[in-house]
């Protein structure tokens, strides 16, 4: 971290209770006047030791444990783990189960992207859009509950397949909700590209060039907004993405506006995939028999979470418990982009740049203290958010 000079430089610590991340994180921004000159990160405030815990539980217990890593994209965690363990066991999962996994993954993507749209709009002071997006998100949450039995931590995966089937009532419900959401998405795309108050906070801000995005190992919509064609659904199709290929959505400008546009356009892509799956859902069984003990081996399972590439490394030792499970969530890769793009920006832009990578927002109040040579001045995140809004008024 850069040295603090007395009098003319301040370090602004943000966090640790920071809602913008899966894990609350602590950021320290060094500012010179209003301009950010350096940034560093400290994680682990809700480190739960899940990787260690996974070594001491059976594969079946781990499925439930790992699903609880994230409350927003829980399905992809369970799916990545299940796909990896099934690969180690040499088990072929029925086509219908794989298609239902993709169906739930895409519904989860809609819910996650709408959640992000609302949160990002809130950070920009555009609370009407926040209310709209979250109201529409309820549609998908209800459908997920109808299908899986749970609004979050859906638990639809089992090792070797899925638990729940899609019947005609659920199918019709999903299809009509998709039609409704599609008309709403037309509005959202218009808003994020034409609404002046929002564009004032997004256009030309937090620009990340394609080369920078590639060098920093950025993933997901954050990478795609910089023109980087990175999407595991296409690059390494898993589950049923070979039968139902996704189309990549990219933007070239690499600013916050592009990150808005990419995520909103990806909603269309999810609607299309969901309709495709429901119209040609293969028949057959939902599960296949899994051995309790998994043969020795190691595998890597990568899936495209709403936030980008989710990476699982699983090592089995022939027993009913894994030897090592390594989880690398997409936000970890995207932190580096915040650290890099924040430099040179105004402190008022920080809330938007942080939310631009779509870190998980889990709570709404966080502490921010402004620390200088003359002691500390503590403000909460709400004040920093309002400061940003006032700044651009």
């Amino acid at each position: 971290m850069p040295e603090t000079k007395h009098g003319d430089k301040f370090i602004v610590p943000i966090g640790p209770q920071h809602p913008a991340l899966k894990e609350p994180g602590h950021f320290e921004f060094t500012v010179d006047g209003e301009t950010v000159t350096g940034a560093s990160v400290r994680l682990g405030f809700v480190h739960r030791g899940i990787e260690k815990a996974a070594e001491e539980r059976t594969y079946i217990q781990d499925l439930y444990l790992l699903e609880r890593i994230c409350g927003i994209c829980s399905h992809v965690h369970a799916m990545a783990f299940a796909l990896g363990v099934e690969k180690l066991a040499g088990v072929t999962v029925p086509e219908r189960a794989q298609a239902i996994r993709v169906l739930v993954a895409e519904m989860e993507r809609i819910h996650s992207h709408l959640l992000w749209l609302g949160v990002a709009a809130h950070e920009a002071g555009f609370d009407t859009l926040f209310m709209y997006a979250w109201r529409d998100r309820e549609k998908v949450m209800d459908l997920l509950e109808q299908l899986c039995g749970n609004r979050v931590n859906y638990s639809i995966n089992v090792l070797g397949g899925v638990k729940e089937d899609v019947n005609d009532v659920i199918r019709d419900g999903i299809l009509s909700a998709m039609d409704y959401l599609e008309t709403r998405t037309v509005l959202y795309l218009k808003l994020v590209t034409t609404e002046r108050t929002l564009i004032g906070r997004t256009r030309g801000i937090g620009i990340m060039e394609k080369q920078t995005a590639a060098r920093l190992g950025t993933v997901g919509p954050t990478a795609r907004a910089s023109g980087l064609e990175r999407d595991i659904r296409l690059e390494a199709p898993y589950a049923a993405y070979l039968q139902y290929p996704a189309r990549i959505v990219t933007e070239q400008t690499g600013d916050l506006e592009a990150r808005f546009i990419v995520r909103v356009k990806e909603l269309y892509e999810s609607f299309r995939l969901i309709r495709g799956i429901l119209s040609t859902l293969p028949g057959g069984e939902l599960t296949t028999k899994m051995p309790r003990r998994i043969p020795e081996g190691e595998t890597i399972s990568r899936v495209e979470a709403p936030r980008g590439e989710l990476f699982y490394y699983i090592k089995s030792n022939g027993s009913d418990k894994p030897d090592r499970v390594k989880v690398r969530t997409p936000s970890i890769n995207n932190f580096a982009s915040v650290m890099a793009t924040a430099v040179g920006h105004k402190l008022a832009d920080i809330p938007m740049i942080l939310s631009g990578i779509d870190p998980c927002f889990s709570c709404n109040d966080r502490m921010v203290s402004i620390r200088g040579s003359e002691g500390q001045q503590a403000v909460d995140w709400e004040e920093l958010r309002l400061y940003g809004i006032e700044y651009y008024r």
Binding site: R42, G44, L216, G217, T299, F311, N333
Partner: protein, 186 residues
């Protein structure tokens, strides 16, 4: 089409790292493992990074202590490592760091092994700046010392975590039950 692209990428790794690698394995159709001596790690990472297409996806630490496995592949590794003239290096005490580079569907894993007694690695942050977070994780979770890494603070564990306790090593079994006021059965 995907298949040929995968094959091309796998061969690319083999060509790129031909001078540095001790051995290659192809554990799965989309994976290639490259076994490297720790001294060649930075150079290998630089070669991968300079292509502009491979990106560091993750770094995994593995403690092989509890593995009772001695498959042929593992035995081969053991010989490889012993060939590097590192002493005090039984298979049972092996730590391994896995650097996963991705391009398309292919995952190329650079594998370096160390003994438990004095595990240390060079930092690849000079080549891949985003490796910093993973290197901090390796240091605190596995006790691998990385001398030239830019930030050595704790990343995930609390600041008052006891020195020399590395939770993801196999010999770490927790701190036992927390003391309850008035006795366990009160």
């Amino acid at each position: 089409m995907i298949v040929t692209q995968t094959e091309e990428n796998l061969e690319e790794v083999q060509t790129l790292l031909a001078q540095l690698a001790i051995a290659y394995t192809r554990p799965e159709e989309n994976r290639i493992d490259v076994i490297l001596p720790p001294a060649k790690l930075v150079e290998a990472a630089r070669i991968m990074e300079d292509t502009g297409f491979w990106y560091l996806s993750a770094i995994t630490g593995v403690d092989h202590s509890s593995s009772a496995d001695t498959t042929n592949e593992e035995k081969a590794w053991q010989r490889v490592v012993e060939g590097e003239e590192q002493t005090g290096f039984g298979y049972s005490g092996v730590l391994e760091a896995l650097y996963h580079f991705c391009k398309g569907s292919v995952v190329a894993t650079l594998r370096v092994r160390m003994g438990h007694a004095n595990p240390n690695l060079p930092s690849i942050c000079g080549v891949v700046p985003s490796a910093s977070l993973y290197e901090r994780e390796l240091m605190e979770m596995f006790g691998i010392s990385i001398e030239d890494t830019p930030v050595k603070d704790h990343l995930l564990l609390p600041d008052d975590w006891p020195v020399g306790v590395y939770p993801l090593r196999k010999d770490f079994k927790g701190f036992g039950q927390p003391e309850v006021e008035g006795g366990a059965n009160a």
